[in-house]
């Protein structure tokens, strides 16, 4: 297989609305055939970036290339991309089939071909047989499929989706996440999806660009984002995490120690490459901490007194697959620990106010420099 080509190149793009910078010097290459997700909290500029790709907003600075072609001055109806809008924007006065056929009609495709392609597209999104329905006779999920089919039928280079699942209920959303990913795999069209929902992003994406205040905080695959976040924003935004501030006291190629006043001494079996005594942050995921009754913990693979902490359970929430404990450390800070519920019978007997010891492996803590 040859090297994948970027189908969209976003180069140093900035967008200002008056004095407000909505997108701040963003550069992203989106590759042919991938499922790309723009993830970030509401208001961070995801929609604006997507609308610039579609041609509804012009970059204040920078360049957007689609298929190697500079899109400056190319109007939305000339661009080889199609968009699924957040409101779906299904035409209410047209039947489902007419909605899907609209783009083909406009571009002068012959009638028989339109019919077969519309049927195909409706079949693809499991709306076969509903072509004659009017949009107000459809459920929200079905309307979204119409919007999806309307874009897919055009066979665009890239399909842009703005929060495609946000209007659906939780169950349907989970199902659609799966279906969207499968659909993308089947049609081989590059998808660029915007979402503020991290689960959605992690479950569907090949690669994710996490955005923060108009900036790309990190661009990586789902597991890299989770296991190797580049900064506190990403660590905190993706999944659940405990973050402690500390000072780097030992930093050698094979080991490092961060001294965290609120957690204790954290030992790592790899170097960090930061200056001695610099302030860093240690992030530990709740599921990577082992909880034992007080006094039973002895950190393996770590020097004595490292990677171990003591506290008391102050909160507990049973979530079915896991139970999340809130442990008050001796320093007064709380730390979150989760444990899988492996057995239906032997419920671990940790409860409120139990004294516990916590330990973790030297590979578990993530050291963040910003």
């Amino acid at each position: 297989m040859t090297e994948k080509q970027p189908v969209i190149s976003i180069r140093n793009v900035t967008k200002r609305f008056g004095n407000m910078v909505a997108v701040d010097n963003v550069s992203i290459d989106i590759l042919e055939g991938e499922f790309f997700v723009l993830l970030g909290p509401s208001g961070c500029g995801k929609t604006t970036l997507l609308r610039m790709i579609a041609g509804f907003e012009m970059p204040s600075e920078g360049q957007i290339l689609i298929g190697g072609q500079d899109m400056a001055g190319v109007s939305p109806n000339q661009r080889p991309v199609n968009m699924v809008f957040q409101s779906y924007a299904v035409f209410p006065h047209m039947s489902v089939a007419d909605n899907v056929a609209y783009g083909l009609k406009i571009s002068g495709v012959a009638k028989p071909e339109i019919r077969t392609r519309v049927d195909e597209a409706l079949e693809l999104v499991s709306l076969g047989g509903l072509g004659q329905r009017m949009p107000d006779q459809l459920s929200g999920g079905q309307r979204q499929r119409v919007a999806l089919a309307r874009g897919l039928v055009m066979r665009p280079k890239v399909l842009l989706l703005d929060e495609p699942l946000s209007a659906l209920d939780a169950k349907l959303r989970a199902q659609m996440q799966f279906e969207l990913a499968e659909l993308q795999d089947n049609v081989g069209i590059t998808f660029v999806t915007v979402t503020h929902d991290q689960d959605e992003a992690l479950s569907m994406a090949c690669r994710i660009a996490v955005m923060n205040k108009g900036d790309v905080a990190q661009l990586a695959g789902p597991s890299d984002l989770y296991e190797h976040p580049a900064n506190r924003f990403v660590a905190d935004f993706i999944g659940s995490v405990n973050i402690f501030e500390g000072k780097l006291t030992v930093d050698e190629p094979e080991q490092a120690v961060v001294d965290c006043p609120e957690l204790g001494r954290v030992f790592l079996n790899h170097g960090v490459t930061g200056a001695h005594e610099t302030t860093v942050w240690v992030a530990i995921r709740p599921e990577k901490i082992t909880m034992l009754p007080a006094g039973q913990a002895k950190a393996k693979d770590s020097p004595d007194g490292h990677n171990i902490a003591h506290g008391q359970i102050k909160g507990l929430s049973y979530l079915g697959d896991v139970t999340v404990y809130e442990v008050r450390l001796e320093s007064g800070r709380s730390i979150r620990v989760s444990r899988p519920n492996l057995s239906r019978w032997d419920q671990e007997d940790f409860s409120w106010d139990d004294k516990v010891s916590l330990q973790w492996h030297p590979t578990s803590p993530i050291v963040l420099l910003s």
Partner: protein, 278 residues
Amino acid sequence: MSLFKRTQIAPLEYTRRLWMRAWIAATLFFLYAPLLVLIAFSFNDSKRNIVWRGFTFKYYGKVLENDGLMAALGNSLTIAALATAFSIVLGTLAAVMLWRFRFPFKAGVEGTMALPIVVPEICMGVAMLVFFAKLDWPTDLPWPLNLSAITIAHITFCFPFVAMVVRARLAGFNKEQEEAAKDLGATEWQAFRDVLLPHMKPGIIAGALLAFTLSLDDFVITFFTSGPNTITFPVKVYSMVRFSVTPEVNAASAILIFLTILLTTVALKLQDFTKATA
């Protein structure tokens, strides 16, 4: 306290307040009694319109044979049709302009446009009279060009109504629909035709209905802009009333009422139809 305590009477629960029922009855009476009397007496077999002398269709026949009245009706319908057509186009364009664009003095433009709605009709009438006189507007043109002055006057007070109704309708438009059309390859014009226009349609129909009825029964402004050869139906009825209120006048008025009701019903049916298919 009684076991079957009655619930409190809601503010506008008219069925449980005597004075409110009386009020409503009085309102309906003063609103519709004159109309019912007018229609009833159009079937009265008597020259003098005071006592009931038996049922007849005679005066409807007379109305249909009255060439002057029929010509006036023809004029009125022509003017109303023309004024409506122009008002639809102008009003819709104005509504779209005000909805879509921001431009200097927008509020001023909006206010000026609504002026014909609020200016007293008599002032409009006099203004039109003076205006057309100053312009030396030709009055001896062949039909229907001789109706141009009245038609223009009617357009000026009809199109703001269309603009208002359509504007209100546009406020509920999801702009993403228009963007979706463009995204699918539509030009600005195609997106307007295929997405925006269908959305505005119910508003345009309602506005057209307003414009047509306003134009059809306008008296004051028409009176000032009509000449001897351009009598409209209301003006003609007025001149007939000046001699005496005969059952013929009643019949003519009743015809106008029926016509208006018919057109309104048709238009509302049309609107229902577009809604059902929307």
